[in-house]
């Protein structure tokens, strides 16, 4: 026992007065040492365990399984067959629809991602100016759309962008005399993505927005006074020099969410399959292969590529926004 104490520096952190305890693990080995450390901080590990177990079962394992399956041909009903890099070869070289889906997704992500991000921050900042009493009300009003996505999309926006003259938008344009024939909002190849983006922006104030609202609340009030002493006069300056630096963690968190959200966009207003695949996104393409075509291997390959893409962009966000201290 005493030997262990000598051989390990970290172990000396344990107060010497403590009675020598029975060790469960051989702390000389690196792995044993790790387990020993885990045991030492068992309380902390216990606290994160519920999340971690769920994360491993529902996120990490599927990701690994999916990566493994992406090298196979698997029709679900039969056993998977190893096919090497065939799926990736087809994905990058042969599949014209993937390019279409990729460009549609990118188009969507480039607009909805940053715009939604900025809008979230902007509205959170605006709401922060509102007296405390009404703030919750405003937060709810802005946050609600992102909760009701599925049903509300279909009902509210379906009526708004209805293809016939009874649709709100068509009816309005007809009434004002801008058009004579109703526009096929969700069937016109050139309009599917823009319409989808408009709807997405409406519902883009999601979890990121909430974290901003919370972030603003967490800014130390004294800093405002300090800033005022230092010569900050307008609210905008305060935003620039106090609020943004103070909400960096939230900015990072929201950025990661925003990237993930933008790239995993599923259904569009046109449904699937859409006219000339104008509304095809990577997720729809993936679902098409796994559902309709019984090609889970290939769908996994798409999923892996999408994950890598999101991970990469996430890294960039980290680089840009992480606390540099």
């Amino acid at each position: 026992m005493a030997k262990n104490n000598d051989s390990n520096k970290k172990e000396s952190a344990v107060p010497a007065v403590q009675k020598p305890k029975k060790r469960f693990f051989n702390v000389e080995k690196r792995f044993g040492y790790t387990l020993h450390e885990i045991w030492r901080y068992k309380m902390s590990y216990g606290l994160i365990a519920p999340f971690f177990i769920v994360f491993i079962i529902f996120s990490l394992l599927p990701l690994l399984a999916s990566t493994a399956l992406s090298f196979t041909y698997w029709s679900i009903l039969e056993d998977p067959v190893f096919t090497g890099l065939d799926n990736y070869q087809y994905l990058f070289v042969d599949d014209p629809l993937f390019l279409k889906a990729f460009s549609n997704t990118l188009y969507y992500a480039v607009i909805v991602g940053p715009c939604g991000y900025v809008a979230s921050y902007f509205f959170a900042w605006l709401i922060n100016q509102v007296p405390d009493k009404f703030r919750a009300l405003y937060v709810l009003a802005f946050y609600a759309p992102s909760l009701t996505s599925g049903v509300a999309m279909a009902v509210v926006w379906g009526v708004m962008f209805s293809n016939d003259s009874t649709g709100y938008l068509n009816a309005l344009l007809l009434k004002l005399g801008f058009i004579y024939e109703p526009i096929m909002w969700t069937q016109d190849v050139n309009l599917i993505m823009p319409v989808t983006i408009v709807v997405a922006l409406w519902s883009s104030l999601g979890t990121g927005f909430l974290s901003f609202v919370a972030g603003f609340r967490g800014v130390d009030r004294e800093l405002y006074d300090a800033a005022a002493v230092d010569g900050v006069t307008s609210r905008f300056q305060r935003l620039l020099y106090v609020d943004i630096p103070q909400t960096m963690p939230q900015l990072l968190f929201a950025a990661v969410l925003q990237i993930t959200g933008a790239f995993t966009v599923g259904g569009t207003m046109a449904g699937h399959p859409s006219p000339e695949d104008a509304g095809l996104t990577i997720m729809l393409h993936l679902g098409d292969y796994s559902g309709t075509r019984f090609e889970v291997g290939y769908a996994s390959a798409i999923a892996v590529v999408l994950s890598v893409l999101i991970l990469g962009l996430g890294r960039i966000a980290f680089k840009l926004l992480q606390d540099k201290e």
Binding site: S75, I76, D164, S165, E181, E276
Partner: protein
């Protein structure tokens, strides 16, 4: 000490909180009570006002007028009722064997009857060879054949149309009623249609649409004991109750208070009668004195009322769940979980399913009748009361009540059961809430309740007339403003222009005012006739009234609001059918002493709470759900197969009952029926991978078996031979398919020489057209697409459109009718590039490019409004028309879909009507360990009798709206379609052509839509669009074929199998 006090306070507040919650729950639960339904006063007469929009309507011929208006004319002229003896006629034959008719008791007056019958010459029932030994039918309750020999002889009317014409001599000029004696023979669970004319004219318009009602009864005599192992009662089935009936002709939909009466002058008249749809014997025709019913005061006086004669004993309660007979197969015993609902069965209604009430949502149709027997212990005056419940909010229900087949007094002709919020027990009473007293002699009596529309008939009529008139007005305005239609069918009006409508339609200001007043009046009428409560359907009238009020102020708003008017009209047409919809539920009837206080008719809040708690706790009892519908416990020794069904609860319950009664009893195989939500395909796949797949799945889309079969997840069904199981024979694949199913239906479920599914349901399409509009235009319905093109200019000139589905489904018939196919004969490449397919594509695109067909339209709404008097609809459309548009009855007809004339193998010119019929099928999973048993279940399920019976049960539950779309062609003949409808369906099914499934076939529809859109919407070259599509389709098919190359290697026919030789030749 302080701490203890604190603790005490916390304890107290917890107890107080719980108490408050409990009280709140009780209050909420008991808040559902409302003071009992109040009877109210209402006027009631059959005479109807003349149409304010037609000048001199009263001068029109009676045969064009509604009965109510004819009555008004009679009233003006002061015709009297005939009061003499019945003038009856019987049938006989003369020496030549011709049918004759003579006045009852005077054979010397016999005259020959002219006319025809659908099957052969007119004949007496006794002359029909088939009935030489009497009329035979199978009584399912005894499972034995019953022979009826004592049917009084008379005219035999076969399934088709029978027409007879004969002369009668009428003794005096007066009003008469018509009475028919009849015996309906076995048919299709429908009523016999009757019409009659006097001197070649209908005495009133509705005389063309009368009916002789069939009667039904329950065949489970021991229904009280018929339970599953959990204790849930199993509902007895309905069967036809055969018997001699007689009926004074009345409105079949219960629209009028009294039976029809009509005026005949003294002397001879030529009477023509037609009988249609169902077979029967007409063994008596009489002209009788219109029945007269005395008022309540006279009734009391006539029966010698005295206070002392009022019955003083205890209540006599009669459960109503089992009626002696009903005239609609859908009105029957239902289940109710209310604490206070009583039943003859000794069980709690909220713990198990008990069939403890009668009626429900289906006891709503005017004209439906139900009869019960009850008995009273002594002669005297009784109050009669019911525990009943209104099914629809604020809707009062009108019913005719007869005691011993006689209406006791005037007020019982259309007695109003006022709206009750939940259950209520109350005696029949007058507007001052004073109960009526009925004189009943000691012994057995019957009570007959017939559904009526009641005084609401006037609201119905005025709405109908104003709607007709408004449609005409719209047409007039469109002619003035020259509005065009958008592709979706709405009117496009230049909103920046002013029209001086008054210049073109001088009366428009007054007309608009008349409409508005009429709407307001109708609204008031509906309000007062539902006891000053407003049913939800009345809101459409308010909307229309507000709209017209707006027009009254500014006529210029009309041309730009045509779409709004159309919307208002479609709302009103829903109102029309809702007015007639007066559903009611009855628990029991009591005969009781005067002033009897009904106890316990309404459950208290505490009882409701208890029921809720018990049910909530019960919902965790999985064992109970597993055993639902089982008649015997399943043990480990039993063979049990698992079946997935993705249908609604009612469908599954009926299936479970039939399995228990018939299948398990016969073969000894237990069946675990699983109701799965949504599409069962989605559930079967993960289950299959996990090794817990069911043995059988039914209601599977026809696209699925192929995909599963390719991946060897299914059992081929064509290998099953006929055999025996438990001493019971069962059919093989070929035996079953041979006579009962169309070969074409198997095409999508074939893969590599084997068939992997069995058809279950199968829709049909037909050409629907409005006979009234076609008559007006003087054109005949088209038979070929060329005929369609010929009538299009005529239709367009009058502002009418043809409805045809835009999309791949619309193109398919054109492809087939031109002789094209989707794939080559091996199913390896797309065949859309062939000349035939291309011709079909061009012709189809031209429907929209040249003939300006509408892309997307609500065919049902516009067929009703008459804007689209013709179009191709499917079975759903047919059901919708029958169910929701009764006002169109007789105004539409259907024919097989238009086709293309081609020359068949025999060298004759035939019209090729090829079209697909969408359906579902049943499959057996390859993982099943009980394949033979599974097949036995499938062949049982697909057999003629079972499908026919299932269809009947479904029809009884849902009515025509849920008609079973069986794929079994013999079973379809048993469904209550009319002979003409069946003819159309059979003719269309002869031309069924299904699309084969092949590897990568999902790309065909995707890229065909693209090609269609490019050609039709974007005006690109059809050839280029098609070639682009074919390239993509072939690429995907090739890719898929490469994945399954080893399977294809030993015979590259993925889609056409040799198990269906007839298909291979095509």
């Amino acid at each position: 000490m302080n701490k203890k006090k604190k603790k005490r306070i916390i304890q107290l507040s917890v107890v107080a909180g719980l108490l408050i919650i409990l009280i709140a729950v009780l209050v909420i639960n008991s808040a559902t009570k409302e003071p009992g339904a109040q009877q109210f006063e209402y006027e009631n007469f059959d005479e109807m006002e003349f149409n304010p929009f037609i000048t001199n309507e009263d001068r029109l011929d009676n045969s064009l007028l509604k009965y109510g208006k004819v009555l008004s004319k009679y009233a003006k002229k002061g015709y009297k009722y005939y009061t003499g003896d019945d003038i009856s006629y019987d049938f006989s034959t003369d020496t030549n064997g011709n049918l004759t008719i003579y006045e009852t008791g005077k054979p010397e007056t016999a005259v020959t009857v002219e006319g025809s019958d659908a099957s052969e010459a007119l004949s007496l029932f006794s002359q029909i060879e088939m009935f030489a030994e009497g009329f035979k039918y199978t009584d399912p309750s005894k499972d034995a054949e019953v022979v009826v020999t004592d049917i009084e002889d008379g005219l035999y009317a076969s399934t088709g149309k029978t027409t007879i014409t004969f002369q009668v001599t009428i003794p005096e000029a007066a009003l008469y009623s018509l009475k028919l004696d009849y015996y309906l023979l076995s048919g299709k669970y429908a009523d016999m249609l009757v019409s009659f004319t006097i001197d070649e004219k209908y005495p009133f318009a509705e005389a063309s649409n009368l009916s002789l009602k069939r009667t039904y009864t329950f065949y489970d005599t021991d229904y009280l004991e018929n339970k599953d192992i959990v204790g849930n009662q199993i509902r007895g089935k309905t069967m036809i109750l055969y018997g001699q009936r007689s009926q004074i002709m009345t409105n079949p939909d219960g629209l009028y208070k009294d039976p029809y009466r009509f005026y005949m002058t003294e002397g001879t008249h030529v009477i023509t009668m037609t009988f249609d749809r169902e077979p029967g014997v007409i063994n008596g025709i009489s002209f009788v004195a219109p029945p007269v019913v005395s008022s309540y005061e006279d009734y009391k006086a006539a029966n010698g009322f005295s206070e002392g004669a009022i019955y003083k004993g205890g209540i006599i309660k009669t459960e109503l769940e089992v009626a002696d007979f009903v005239t609609s197969i859908s009105t029957r015993m239902e289940t109710d979980g209310n604490y206070c609902t009583s039943s003859d069965v000794n069980a709690k209604p909220y713990k198990v399913t008990l069939y403890n009430i009668f009626g429900g949502d289906k006891w709503n149709t005017g004209g439906d009748m139900a009869k019960w027997t009850f008995s009273v212990p002594e002669t005297g005056w009784y109050e009669l009361g019911f525990r009943y419940k209104s099914q629809l909010t604020y809707v009062a229900c009108y019913r005719e009540i007869r005691i011993d087949d006689e209406i006791p007094f005037e007020e019982m002709k259309e007695y109003c059961f006022p709206y009750s919020n939940g259950w209520i027990g109350t005696s029949l009473c007058d507007a001052n809430q004073n109960p009526y007293l009925f004189y009943l002699e000691k012994g057995t009596h019957t009570i007959t309740i017939t559904n009526k529309v009641g005084p609401l008939r006037h609201a119905l009529l005025s709405l109908e007339e104003s709607m007709d008139s408004i449609s005409t007005l719209i047409n007039k305005i469109v002619k003035i403003t020259a509005s065009t239609r958008s592709s979706s069918g709405g009117y496009i009006v230049d909103s920046n222009r002013d029209w001086d409508l008054q210049k073109y339609i001088p009366s428009i200001q007054e007309d608009i005012a008349t409409y508005r007043e009429l709407f307001d009046k109708t609204y008031e009428e509906i309000l007062s006739l539902n006891g000053n409560k407003i049913p939800s359907y009345a809101s459409a009238i308010q909307v229309a009234s507000e709209l017209f009020e707006k027009f009254e102020e500014d006529l210029e708003k009309i041309p730009t609001s045509l779409n709004d008017i159309n919307n208002a009209l479609s709302g009103l047409s829903t109102t029309l059918s809702s007015i007639k919809d007066q559903p009611m539920t009855a628990d029991y009837m009591v005969a009781c002493t005067s002033g009897y206080d009904y106890p316990n008719t309404i459950s208290s809040g505490w009882q409701n709470f208890k029921v809720g708690v018990v049910r909530f706790i019960d919902s965790f009892d999985t064992e109970k759900y597993k055993n639902y519908g089982l008649r015997e416990e399943v043990t480990d020794d039993d063979t049990e197969i698992t079946v997935y069904v993705s249908r609604a609860r009612e469908y599954v319950t009926i299936l479970e009952n039939m399995i228990g009664e018939d299948f398990t009893a016969k073969y000894g195989i237990k069946v675990n029926v699983n109701m799965v939500a949504g599409s069962s395909e989605g559930l079967i796949m993960p289950r299959y991978v996990a090794g817990t797949a069911p043995d059988v799945a039914i209601s599977i889309g026809v696209g699925t078996p192929f995909e599963y079969a390719v991946r060897s997840a299914l059992t081929p069904l064509d290998t099953f031979e006929a055999g025996e199981y438990n001493g019971q024979p069962y059919l093989g694949f070929e035996d079953l398919k041979g006579e009962s199913y169309y070969d074409e239906v198997f095409r999508p479920i074939v893969f590599k020489d084997h068939c992997y599914g069995f058809p279950e349901t199968q829709g049909w399409s037909a050409l629907f057209y409005r006979t009234d509009i076609f008559e007006e235009l003087g054109i005949t319905p088209p038979d070929t697409w060329q005929d369609v093109y010929d009538i299009i200019p005529i239709l367009t000139n009058s502002g009418y459109d043809f409805c045809y589905n835009y999309g791949v489904g619309g193109y398919t018939p054109f492809l087939y009718q031109h002789g094209g196919t989707f794939y080559d004969e091996h199913g390896m490449v797309s065949a859309l590039g062939t000349q035939a397919a291309y011709d079909g594509f061009i012709e189809y695109c031209n429907l929209y490019l040249q003939y300006n067909f509408v892309y997307a339209a609500n065919f049902y709404m516009r067929f009703k409004s008459g804007e689209m008097p013709i179009g191709i609809g499917d079975m759903g459309f047919y059901c919708q028309l029958n169910y929701a548009a009764p006002e169109l009855e007789g105004k539409w007809a259907m024919r097989p879909v238009p086709g293309h004339a081609t020359i068949n193998e025999a060298g004759e010119v035939v019209i090729d009507r090829s079209m697909n019929a969408v359906g579902t099928c049943s499959i057996i999973l390859s993982s099943s360990k009980l394949k033979e048993e599974s097949w036995i279940f499938l062949q049982w399920w697909a057999s003629d009798d079972v499908q026919a019976e299932y269809g009947r049960e479904i029809e009884a539950t849902f009515g025509v709206a849920g008609r079973w779309t069986t794929a079994n062609k013999n079973a379809v003949q048993e469904l209550p379609y009319t002979a003409e409808e069946l003819e159309v369906i059979n003719a269309q099914w002869e031309w069924i052509k299904e699309t084969p499934q092949t590897l990568g076939d999902y790309y065909t529809s995707r890229y065909l839509v693209t090609a269609l859109n490019q050609t039709v919407l974007q005006g690109q070259s059809a050839r280029v669009a098609i070639e682009d599509a074919i390239r993509e389709i072939n690429k995907e098919m090739r890719r898929k074929q490469e994945q399954y190359w080893d399977i294809l290697a030993d015979g590259p026919d993925p889609s056409i199998g040799s198990c269906l030789h007839s298909l291979k030749e095509n």
